[in-house]
Symmetry: C2
Subunit: 209 residues, 2 copies
Amino acid sequence: MSADAGPRRLRADAERSTARILAAAEEVLAADPAATLERIADAAGVARATVHRRFSSRKALLEALTGVLNERYLCGLDQARVATAPPVAALYRLTELLFELKVGSRAIMELTADPATQMTPLSPEVTAGLELLFRRLHEAGEITATDTAWCFALYLAVVHEAAQLPANSPMLGTEAGDVGARADLTYRTVLAALGGGRPPAEPRAGRTA
Amino acid sequence: MSADAGPRRLRADAERSTARILAAAEEVLAADPAATLERIADAAGVARATVHRRFSSRKALLEALTGVLNERYLCGLDQARVATAPPVAALYRLTELLFELKVGSRAIMELTADPATQMTPLSPEVTAGLELLFRRLHEAGEITATDTAWCFALYLAVVHEAAQLPANSPMLGTEAGDVGARADLTYRTVLAALGGGRPPAEPRAGRTA
DNA sequence: TGCAAATGCTACACACAAGTCTCAGTTATG
DNA sequence: CATAACTGAGACTTGTGTGTAGCATTTGCA
């Protein structure tokens, strides 16, 4: 399940290096998608050679990164119970989780998708989960939009914009937590944008459980 | 007003080359933001050396490109009469114009903004125009969102997503023109997303005039 | 028509990131 | 503790994009 899933398991410190590199790459690449491996190595506190040791190439590192993000999405979809919970509750919970897991930057996702195919680097499981969620929202009459592709293109866009919004924006209100306010804004905006006929309902299930 | 605004004016064919390069750069860079100057030159039907002759550096070319886009925005804001027309009509018209002028790809705009400052490469005039539009929308009660920054971050995001939407999406309906359908979808979505209390009103002024 | 300007083409210099290799020193783990 | 794994540091090759220069040719313009 790790980056390379090599034949023999890594030593503990090597595993730590891998994790630190991935974390640093996420942070650095979010700020500058064209950042050098050297800058990533610096941010991770390792030598550039070590990056090459843990990841056979830059491409491999990027793929590992999107793998991590995919796992986070999958984890979020699972925790939000998109298949069973009331759709609006699932959407709200999922949105909270996405902000908690800091899946704000779309730039990283666009790094692996080569310019030609323009394919979404989201795994089939993730897209299936999102499709299910929005289909259920539609069946419940919470949204009117019919195209699930449009639904989560818009959803991801709003998540991204809400993540980039400066912390002092009046849109975030005076609520306590920062991520909570962003999630709330995203939830309301998406539901309204996709044609919620009624004013957005409060979720009926657990909030920050 | 041209790319370099040199001391002496260019010959007619040189001016044409400049235009062709800019057009090619827009198309190629929209597909792949990391595209080579050589690929741009090929797409423009000129030699790479000519690109260097018309634009002193890659950076200069990118700046010229954003200049062009800024002009288009400015032109759109002017034609939409954002200062005088009824706000919803102005929004609708502006949206139409943005799609007609193919200002769909945000990738190009993000090319000039260096990763550090994260500044919007939109000119102050453009941002001022957009701010005015959304403030008027708010004052007219068409939207409830209070932060203009949030308003046009979301607006641009929706424009971008609508531009990327595949042509056969059910969201685009069976309307005649492609750009019209996208503009319509964008208009409705944005108005709803920003808290239009009522179902989005039809614009009261000229449509595709 | 004649001249200056613009272009295509080729060759070259330069910078820089990716990737490989070696070796000495450090750290985990049986 | 002894071995094997991991790391940092440095040197090195390679590939590639950018930018410059020269020269023959074409083209706009007066």
